[in-house]
């Protein structure tokens, strides 16, 4: 499957890259970027049905935005909120008027509601989060963007439920990657609304697809910055980029970034059935992101190890992405099992 931007997607990409390039990333007043992304560009509502205030587009459009927020590690809960719009809207399309999550969609579409996904573990162990009589109980840790969430999409065994943050006990965590906060969310018989049409496993796989897209975008940025540095930084009287040992390493990184980008796009295109592609793409793209970010630091030398330089933020995001929602080893086993290799 081949994916290229449609004219509308290309326009979306350009508008968002322009917005993100205006210094609204890390360090800007909290909330400014979010307001522009949601109010001005309507990005959280991309996949929300038009009847609920969204744009009625799909995962492909969200993926365009996620690859751009990934490039700059925009400190906004975009991925999980937009995916919640897709997942809740997905059920809505099937359920018609009976779809209860409809009440959440308008807030997601206008940016007033931020969402996070509560998974009980990296590959969802059975029984950690349970539902009984429409009430959710249990603990989810490492909830990405959980600290600022207004609502949680909770994966209980194989069903999905929506819980307002006010009905959960949320404990923010300090995080290695400061551009994406995490929290522990505890539910004690919390009132919950069922989501129809998307299983818990599918939600996790779609989350993995978007993490793959984000990783590919971020890795591309790391390579761009590194190549630019090697073009201009001079040692021994010549540009570093003229040394073959470094050129060949960059070429290998370019191969990795190109293949990760293609893989993430294929996973988006195949998102109707993400059981194999979700874990496959997340594993491959997060591994590539990790390698490119680590090489970014090495190829920058000393400056790459400083707090001031952006490289460490990518390294931390890359490692965090590898560790959450299934480590490389866990996802490899998941792919092997789902593809029936052994």
């Amino acid at each position: 499957m081949i994916v290229v931007d449609t004219p509308e997607q290309a326009a979306l990409r350009a508008a968002l890259r322009d917005l993100l390039g205006r210094g609204l990333g890390a360090g800007a007043p909290a909330g400014t970027l979010w307001k522009r992304m949601t109010g001005e560009l309507g990005l959280t509502g991309l996949a929300v049905p038009e009847s609920h205030g969204g744009a009625g587009a799909g995962l492909a459009e969200i993926a365009v935005a996620v690859s751009e927020t990934g490039r700059v590690l925009a400190p906004v809960p975009y991925l999980s909120t937009a995916l919640a719009g897709y997942v809740l809207g997905y059920g809505e399309a099937d359920a018609g008027d009976a779809g209860a999550p409809g009440e959440f969609l308008r807030g997601i579409a206008d940016g007033s509601v931020r969402a996070a996904f509560a998974f009980a573990g990296p590959v969802i162990p059975a029984g950690a989060l349970t539902v009984c009589g429409g009430r959710v109980s249990g603990v989810a840790s490492n909830v990405l963007d959980g600290a600022c969430a207004d609502l949680f999409v909770v994966a209980c065994d194989d069903s999905l439920w929506v819980v307002w943050a006010g009905d959960a006990r949320v404990t923010p965590a300090g995080t290695l990657d400061q551009t994406r906060p995490q929290a522990t969310a505890e539910f004690s018989s919390a009132e919950a609304v069922p989501v129809t049409g998307v299983s818990a496993a599918m939600a996790a796989d779609l989350f993995r697809v978007l993490l793959a897209v984000e990783s590919a975008g971020a890795a591309a940025h790391c390579l761009d910055v590194t190549v630019e540095y090697l073009r201009t930084r001079s040692q021994f009287g010549r540009a570093l980029g003229t040394f073959q040992a470094l050129r060949h390493r960059c070429a290998d990184l370019a191969v990795e970034v190109a293949s990760a980008t293609a893989t993430a796009s294929a996973a988006v295109a195949g998102a109707a059935d993400p059981g194999v592609l979700g874990p496959l793409a997340k594993k491959y793209c997060a591994d590539v992101f990790w390698h490119v970010a680590a090489e970014m630091i090495q190829l920058h030398g000393g400056i790459g190890c400083t707090w001031e330089h952006e490289a460490h933020r990518y390294l931390k995001r890359a490692k965090t992405t590898q560790l959450v929602l299934g480590s490389p080893a866990e996802l490899r086993r998941l792919v092997a099992a789902r593809a029936g290799l052994f």
Binding site: M1, I2, T242, R247, H248, A254, S259, A262, A336, F342
Partner: protein
Amino acid sequence: MDDSSFRESVRDWLAAHLPVELVGSGGPGREHELIAERLSWERTLGSAGWIGLGWPAADGGRGLPWRQQAIFYEEYARAGAPGRVGHIGEQLLGPTLLAFGTKEQKKRFLPGILAGTTMWCQGYSEPDAGSDLAGLRTRAAPGADGRWRVNGQKVWTSLAQVADWCFVLARTDASSSRHHGLSCLLVRMDQPGVTVRPIVQLTGTSEFNEVFFDDAVAEPGDVVGEPGDGWRVALGTLSVERGVSTFGQQLGFARELSAVLSAARSSGAASDPALAARLTDAWIELQVLRFTAESAFVDGASGVEPNIVKLLWASWHQRLGELAVDVLGPSASVCGPSYELSDAQRLFLFTRADTIYGGSNEIQRNIIAERGLGLPRG
């Protein structure tokens, strides 16, 4: 015709025409097998119109979009149809003539390629000019009769033993150096001045040859492009190498991987966590290779996609060769009394060449760094 009817038509035709003894023959590492039968298969393909699918209709091709060409190669590989003897003519010389040839040259040479009756080999590499092609020494000069006389040696020439013609890159300006003063000459193989000597490879078989030119003759009109413009022509040839046929190649890879997986299951190697991880990674990376190869054909490609895809597949295939013997354990260390190799052993040995021919991994990295990333030259 839409893609799925086209796929159906390829599949039906192959089912009706592919001789059973050719199934699985002639692939990488076995290009020496069943040559006469495979030459006849080329004519069968040609007469049914399966050669030159992507060539312009005006030049005798079928002008099909790349997606349908890819479908043909996929179905061809799925059916286990044999390694092509005519692929150098169809995929290298033909496109070179389409880009640089005169009207007369196209008229003389393209029909034989399309009919599957004229076989070609490529005379580029030399003993002292491998990765550094511009260092080549084969020379050609006009004789008293106005015809070219070619002298020198080429090496790693696939299928030279069956080729009717060779396209030779030679130095036609004796005072020139490097990539100046080269010309691309079309040289008939069946003449006294041409000697072919097979090279025994590490598999014990011979798919490559040395070709010696001793006053070999080429007609004055058989220069592709202007004399002295051979470097540009050669770069054109190299850029089409490994185009859309990569999709058929990947189906072959999938078949090989599935044989390795099945061997790992029966030998018990699959229950070794380290081997299981390598096998799963191989499976994952084959999907990644397919996605990457497909993305290389979309608009807006940066130009180094073929180099990226070559690096990916060559390294992947080589690792698969290592896995193929690793999952078998000690039994993969013994072979037949006359060095008869199993498929796994042949895969293991032949794939050492994958990262060298068609532009070594190192050359691909040079190209990606310079043309893809724009890193400055030293």
